[in-house]
């Protein structure tokens, strides 16, 4: 108990990435020395800075409970949800906070995500049916069929996987981990018939074949979506599809 009190009496230094495009075209690191509490997450510390020291600090956050996916940042070089990462893990500091890597920075810790949203949309993440009109009866799904894709449906679009992926940085057109996992979420849904439509995007050079399987996307994912697994499974499926077409061209695609 005494140990805790002495630690808590101390302060901790944050080195926060600042980028103010109206003042300078180059970013800088700003230091803040703050008191802290042992139950704080990184986001609490940022809120403390914003409320008490520097109101100009900009960052995104919303739910504080790992659901909304807004508060992803680089903490000591690793992409994490700041609301789900305890401060005491990084003692005695300093703790470096930077915006998510591999995204253009708008201001301070706020990144530009429109490219990510376009990529999500490109894989047609909705149930596609062959028939034009809605049919009368419901499309039935058993719990086992749900289990087939449920993991891939847990994505909260926090973009940590894009930050962890070196291919995203090296190949800007790469569709990316979250979007491909989301495509698999629909491909593996028994009610969906859009596999062929999605294949155009997924099987392109900028789709699954851009992935070199570094695997970090699955490591940093806060929801255990396992995008790396989703991509490798699609590679196997696409390759077997190719072989089937080659050996049995008369068979059904």
């Amino acid at each position: 108990m005494d140990d805790n009190l002495t630690i808590m009496a101390e302060s901790i230094t944050f080195e926060v990435f600042r980028y103010k495009p109206d003042e300078s075209s180059e970013p800088s690191l700003q230091k803040y020395k703050i008191p802290w509490q042992k139950d704080w997450v990184i986001l609490d510390a940022l809120n403390y800075i914003k409320d008490n020291i520097d109101g100009t600090l900009s960052y995104r956050w919303s739910c504080r409970m790992g659901v909304c996916g807004s508060c992803g940042m680089m903490v000591n070089g690793k992409p994490v949800l700041t609301c789900a990462t305890f401060l005491k893990k990084f003692l005695p500091g300093p703790i470096r906070i930077e915006p998510l890597e591999n995204f253009p920075v708008i201001r301070d810790l706020v990144i530009e995500m429109s490219d990510f949203l376009d990529k999500l949309k490109s894989v047609k993440p909705w149930v596609i049916r062959d028939e034009q009109d809605l049919v009368e009866e419901e499309y039935v799904q058993t719990p086992d069929q749900l289990a087939d894709y449920k993991q891939y449906s847990m994505c909260i679009n926090c973009m940590l996987c894009y930050s962890a992926c070196p291919v995203v940085a090296l190949e800007p057109d790469f569709v990316g981990p979250a979007a491909i996992a989301l495509a698999q979420r629909y491909n593996m849904d028994n009610r969906d018939q859009g596999n062929k439509e999605r294949m155009e995007v997924l099987n392109a050079d900028t789709g699954i074949w851009n992935c070199t399987f570094v695997g970090d996307c699955s490591v940093v994912c806060p929801e255990n979506v396992d995008p790396a697994g989703a991509i490798q499974r699609y590679k196997v499926e696409s390759a077997s599809h190719w072989w089937k077409n080659l050996l049995l061209p008369w068979g059904k695609g």
Binding site: Y19, P21, P27, G77, V105, D144, F213, R233, K235
Partner: protein, 149 residues
């Protein structure tokens, strides 16, 4: 005259709007350093895994040259084997062997990500799939060793 003023006003507004748009879009993009793969241990692990695939290629080439020597003549085979025993080639082989082992282990460890096998309703745990791969590797290695020795 009135039209002209309206047109001028529109043009001015457009100008201000696009300038404002540009200032919003003045984003900062960090450049990827050439040594990006040395910055995280997971990236380094990945690069070593990819580079050690060259060790696999190397042993395939050695094997092909060995087959060629065997098909040519007995002296050619003896000469090739003597070449393999030279210290430089031995050293290269030892390095390549470590590379090959690293590549094989990391490769089989990744197998569960791509292989999803279901028995009945349950997905086979990844550890079992990796173990099955390692067991297969071991059995084939023993068979080849038994055949050769």
């Amino acid at each position: 005259m009135e039209k002209f003023v309206v047109a001028l006003g529109k043009r001015l507004i457009n100008r201000v709007m696009t300038d404002a748009g540009k200032s919003i879009r003045r984003t900062y993009k960090k450049k990827m350093p050439i040594l990006w793969w040395a910055q995280r241990s997971s990236y380094l692990h990945f690069i070593i895994r990819e580079l050690t695939s060259l060790a696999v290629v190397y042993f395939v080439i050695i094997l092909l040259f060995l087959l060629r020597a065997i098909s040519q003549s007995e002296p050619a085979y003896i000469e090739f084997m003597a070449m393999l025993r030279s210290p430089a080639i031995m050293l290269l082989n030892i390095i390549a062997l470590f590379g090959l082992i690293f590549h094989s282990i990391t490769w089989f460890n990744l197998a569960p990500k791509a292989m999803v096998i279901k028995v009945g309703k349950h997905r086979v745990p990844g550890v079992l799939i990796a173990l099955a791969n390692f067991a297969g590797w071991l059995v084939i290695s023993i068979l080849i060793g038994w055949f050769l020795l």
